[in-house]
Structures are given as C-alpha cells and as structure tokens.
Amino acid sequence: MVKFTEEMIEGLRVPGKGGSLVYLCTSSLDGKPNIAAMRFVATHMDDKILIADMFLLKTKMNIKENPDVTVAICHPLEEGRWWAFKGKAVDIEYGFPRDFDWYGANATDILNEWGDWNKSEPPEEVPPDIVFPKAAQRGVVVVHVEEAYSIEPGHAGEKIL
C-alpha cells in the first residue's frame, strides 16, 4: 500500500494551481502502448490519481480492456517531479452504479466532486490555440497507485513509493 508524499499531492493538481501536466500511459491488451497528455488531475485518498475523462478515445478503450496504466509527470519536471506512478485504472463514467467501488474509492464521491471539473477548475492557463471550445466530460479515470518509480536522469527506475 502506498501513500503520496506532500510534494506529490501538491504536484498532482491542475497546472493552473501549481500542479502538473501529466502523461497517462495505457496499453491495449496485446501490448500496443498509448500516451496522452492530461491537464485535469488530482489526488484522492492516499493512493488514487484522478484524471478527467474528457475527449478520451484510445485511452478509454485501453482502460476498458486492460486496467494497467502509468501516470508520469510531463511538465514541470524541473521542480523535482520526476515521478511515474503505476497502478490499476477504471473510468468511472456517468451511468456507473453510484455505489461502485474501486479499491475503496466510491463512484458517487468521485463524480460529485470531480464530475464537472471544467467548471470547478477551468483551464484558464491553457493557451487559446490549444484549449477546447466546449468541455465534454464523460467521467473520471481513477488510478489506484500500487507503486511509483523515478524518471530522474541518473535515478530512472528507482522505486520511490
């Protein structure tokens, strides 16, 4: 069982609040990898990373057939956030049973707090030529983190959680 450090909790927030842009890495069941940057990120409990299901395609398909994922900090790495988190993910979409549980995380709690993420933490820091014209959130990806390793040069692969 892992527990995020304070630095990780600070870093795993939306970039506009001092957090990070992250890469969510998934794979098809037969091993074809996929990597996509995510802006809406938060932590929940001691060991859950939350990411908005907003415009997910291949990522969503992969998670539906294979829960193994890795979340790595994309930017800013220079602040010492050389982290990659491995775990099991589910996409809690609207329509899931409200009492659905993912390693202790409750669907109702998740959707109540993060189900309209664009409204609660709008992407004000995202450049106008990148930002989407209209939010379309379908749910929240919940990653149950089981371990973390460093991607820092000279220390890559070292276990940090």
Binding site: L21, Y23, C25, T26, S27, S28, L29, D30, G31, K32, P33, N34, I35, A36, A37, R39, M54, F55, L56, L57, K58, N62, N66, D68, V69, T70, A72, C74, H75, P76, L77, A84, K86, V126, P127, D129, I130, V131, F132, P133, K134, Y149, I151, P153, G154, H155, A156, G157, E158
Partner: protein, 154 residues
C-alpha cells in the same frame, strides 16, 4: 502510407525530448525519458538513452518493439501529437556513434531508433485522436500551419 514528420514536429521533438512509452506483451506500460532526440529521417527519430533510462523499458521493449511517444516539458501541451512506431536498439557502431557524439547531456548507453508509422493529434476537443498519418504529407503540413506556427529553436 508515407509518414513524414513536419518541420514543426521535428523541432519540438528535438528541442524538448520525449516521454517514451512501451508495454509488455500483456499490456503493462512503462515510461522513460528520451532527453536527447534527433529526427534522423522523415519518419524516424533517434533517442539517446542512459543505462538507467533504458533499464526501465528494456524488459518490455526486448519482447515488444512498439513505442509510443509524446513531447516532454511544455511540448506536452504545445506539440499536441502522439507518435507510434517500431523501435530498435543500437548499442555500438556508426548508428550509435552518430547520436551519442551529439547527445552531450546523456551518458549514452544505447540509442533507440523509432520508425514512426502512426501520428495522432492530441489537441483536446473535436480533433483529439485524429489520425494524421493517413493524410498526404503536404496536407499534414497545411493542417498544422492552420493551427500552430510556433517552431522552437535550439
């Protein structure tokens, strides 16, 4: 289908380096940094990897050559693309030396060459997931120039 990285894609890849994602045949993904990157052809990128960086991905890469990568740092948002292809490692010889000699910031242990066969737009919104390598190379350039013109310089 001919895959051709645009000038802007190449510039972002080379300026920022990339996050490299591989997976085991059973689908467990691993990520490492490719801090030094160079486009070595229209559809090929080489990454200089230190020993520790390679060690993260080698167990998977040695049995499954698929590599997906996205641009690191600010490139994760400014260069909204995902690239996929087949990778192969080189640990000695001219192909190794050619990259290692210029990768001053990396204690190069191996060079990963990725032959890119798929390019996706990852800009959030209606174009997220749009596959670009199915377009003619000139059309990809035009498509990109309509959206972005920022080309980073080293």
């Amino acid at each position: 289908m001919t895959v051709k990285l645009t000038e802007r894609m190449q510039a972002w890849i080379e300026k920022m380096g990339c996050h490299l994602c591989v997976a085991t045949p059973q689908g467990v993904p691993y990520v490492t940094l490719g801090r030094y990157a160079r486009a070595t052809g229209d559809d090929e990128v080489a990454f200089a990897l230190a020993k520790d960086e390679l060690s993260v991905i080698y167990p998977a890469l040695s049995v499954n050559p698929w590599v997906a990568f996205g641009v690191s740092h600010q490139g994760g948002i400014r260069a909204s693309f995902q690239f996929k292809g087949i990778g192969h490692l080189v640990k000695e010889g001219p192909l190794f030396d050619d990259i290692a000699k210029d990768a001053e910031s990396v204690d190069t242990y191996a060079v990963l060459y990725v032959k890119v066969s798929e390019i996706y737009c990852t800009k959030p919104g209606a174009e997220a997931g749009q596959r670009l390598d199915i377009m003619a190379p000139g059309d990809v350039c035009d498509w990109e120039k309509e959206r972005w013109k920022d080309i980073p310089r080293k």
